[in-house]
């Protein structure tokens, strides 16, 4: 069966050589890194940049619109106390957003970590050993590709409860295919290099060769796929939330906030737009970063 699922033609990957100067000159890389960096800092420093508790309800002050409603339309309750307004339960929207960044990032990172480990293990094993191992692993990959992710994720989450852990694990266990495919090709390529043949000749053990020769050579490919999969995991979490099976309240995740405000698209569009923009910036940054890394790790570069 076909294995050509990666967007990135594998032949363009090579050992990572990232001169800082080239990195800083690469526009996508810089924008992506800055965007993601900013979101990570906001998430990490959440308690420092908002004085509100993201879980504290204030039913008397629900659905206060953001500050600019006070500027442009003289809205009486909008103001600096809640600069981005409040949600359905009077919780501060800005606080929900910065704490929600933690959950969205957590889901993205952890799911990618799980899928990265599975995918890399399978891909490297298939690529390094070839033969029957490759056959079996290719079969596993094809089987996984034949299963519709969103459906299987929905069904599993529905059957097992939609806790943060379950959602992350389910996404992690479903999204490893691209890792496996790309790692497999990258490993095959690395294996045929002279230094690997040489290492084999002088009697290095297989684990040693994989650790010291193969893995460093597939790291760039890994990073690129990791960015793609992280974006995918965050998007899938949003889709699960929309279908009512995302993270459970009162946890704020951006996908959940977006899904919760879907009915507000007609009359209070700010409620859906704010988390929408946040999610958009996050995904855009991750994708730009991935593009940047791919370009920078390509032999010729694309500047």
């Amino acid at each position: 069966m076909s294995q050509a699922t990666s967007e990135a033609p594998v032949s363009t990957f090579a050992a990572p050589r990232f001169p800082i100067r080239r990195m800083l000159r690469h526009r996508s890389f810089v924008i992506g890194a800055a965007g993601l960096g900013l979101i990570v800092i906001l998430a990490a420093a959440a308690p420092l940049i908002t004085w509100h508790d993201p879980y504290a309800q204030d039913l008397m002050n629900r659905r206060i619109p953001p500050i600019w409603y006070a500027w442009f339309w003289d809205h009486p309750s909008a103001g600096w106390h809640h600069p981005l307004g409040t949600d359905n339960l009077g919780r501060d929207y800005w606080a929900r957003l910065v704490y929600g960044a933690r959950i969205s990032l957590l889901i993205g990172f952890s799911a990618t970590l799980v899928s990265g480990l599975i995918g890399t293990f399978l891909g490297v094993a298939a690529g390094y050993f070839g033969g029957r191992v490759d056959l079996v692993i290719s079969f596993i990959i094809t089987t996984r590709l034949a299963m519709p992710v969103i459906l299987v994720a929905l069904a599993t989450v529905a059957l097992l409860n939609s806790t943060l852990l379950v959602i992350t694990m389910v996404l992690g266990l479903l999204l490893w295919d691209r890792f496996a495919v790309v790692m497999r090709s990258a490993t095959m390529q690395a294996r045929s290099q002279e230094y690997v043949t040489a290492a084999k000749a002088i009697g290095c053990s297989t684990p040693r060769i994989i650790l010291t020769e193969i893995l460093p050579n597939v790291a760039a490919a890994f990073t690129v796929i990791a960015t793609i999969e992280m974006a995918t995991a965050v998007l899938y979490e949003a889709a699960l939330s929309f279908l009512g099976l995302g993270v459970q309240p009162p946890l704020p995740s951006w996908g959940l906030m977006l899904a919760e405000a879907k009915e507000d698209i007609f009359f209070s569009p700010w409620m859906i737009t704010l988390p929408g923009i946040a999610l958009f910036v996050l995904l855009l940054s991750i994708n730009l970063l991935g593009d940047g890394i791919r370009d920078l790790s390509a032999p010729g570069g694309r500047s």
Binding site: Y55, A56, Q57, L59, M60, R62, R63, P65, Y69, W73, H75, P76, A78, N88, L89, G90, N161, G244, Q248, P249, P250, E260, K262, E263, D264, I265, F266, F267, S268, P269
Partner: protein
Amino acid sequence: MNFEGLIAGTIAGLVLAAGSAQAQQAENKLRWSSTVSITAPDPYYNFHREAMILNGQLVWDTLIYRNPQTGEYEPLLATSWKWIDDVTLEFVLREDVKFHDGRSLTSKDVVYTYNYISDPANKINVQSNVNWIKNAEEIDEKTVRLNLKSAFPPALEYVASLHAILPDGFFGNDGKAGSNGGLIGTGPYKFDEFVPGSTMQLSRWDGYFDGSPKGKPNFSEVEYRAIPDPSTQMAELLSGGLDWIWYVPKDQAGPLSTMPGVVVNPAETMRISFLSYNVRDMEGGNPLQDIRVRQAIAHAIDRDTIVKQVVGQGSTAITAPCFRTQFGCQQEVTQHPYDPEKAKALLAEAGYADGVTLDLVANSSRDRAWVESVAGYLSAVGIKTNVQLLQYAAASERMASNRTHLFMGDWGSYGINDVSALLNNFFTFTPDDMARDETVSNALKAAAATIDKDTRIENYDVATKRIAEQVYWHPLWTNPTTYAHQADLEFQAFPDENPRFFQVKWKD
């Protein structure tokens, strides 16, 4: 001009809803929608009101009719009825009723219907609607007797609201609806098309009998379409693609009502929301076995504020575990008003001064903000909750298998104006009974087994008072249903959540 008005105004300027509504009026077609998809056309193999009640009364008729204004029973398919004794009901049928294929209604049809639906082997979906019926027998061509297993006081309520009369042999030999002569009934509308899970097309039945309290059909066609997402439904209403929707989200009701050509109508229903406590032994101990913890929870929740701010118009906070018009609903019970200090004190007394963590399961088809606001009040006094939103079946499974401390749910009593349709479902050692209290159960069973009003009232008194005093349930509020429809539609809502489309019509 406030901000909502501004946005509403902008949309209103762009939407020309009035024009399309008038176009529909010319066609005289009613197009309505809800989130559930109907998978069976008959009223019995359904869980959804949309088919149980709506089809039940549009395509079919019941033996008697309960006038929603007066609450009195009126003749429908039966001209008269009487109790022969505690367990026998006799009905005399009208002479002039015809099914959609032209043949006349006789006792055979009524006997078939009751014997079919009451046979447990046929497994109709809601057994509690029929499991008190022993059988039906034909006395003559137009006289039928319904034999009950034991005295069942609200029998006429069920007969009038849920027991649509099907033609003889409707389910054939294979249990397939309409296998013997099609999906026909005696009601004011007949089936044109039924697409499982998606649409239903009904058209007027010109042969509908004169003198029915439902009146002659007002529309030439009625079309139902399942639309799972409420935002999509609102978009359809705004763009003139639908005439009537319900369960409009609370926060959209206000701005939606400012749209030209749209009327929004929040109405109270008989459905009550409650918090139910598990007092059984649980693995690792169960803090709720201490009544002080249950009381603390009750005192921690500010129902009035939640009703006013979150649940919205059409809802009332309640303090008794039933709907006020239901027979046997005793209002004078132990009260647990909002008092967070008392709640904290009670928790400390019970040894949970540092807080406690409980599992809370809630029905996922209700507004998420409801359970979140309850959880918010609980966390304010130090009770942390692990909230799980589940479909009713899954939530029920949690209760049955003793895997949750708290259940926040609601029950609509199928529109039956009698406490037995509510409390007997939850407190008579049923799977959903997490209290398992002999006193309550015995009283409820005794009340349901006689038609003597005083005995019933006495027993319901015992049951409701004990439920409140022991804090097995914390009553929360009545659920509102918010309807929205084109402004030139005449529609009236009733607390039994039964939109009576046979009464609806376009304004002149």
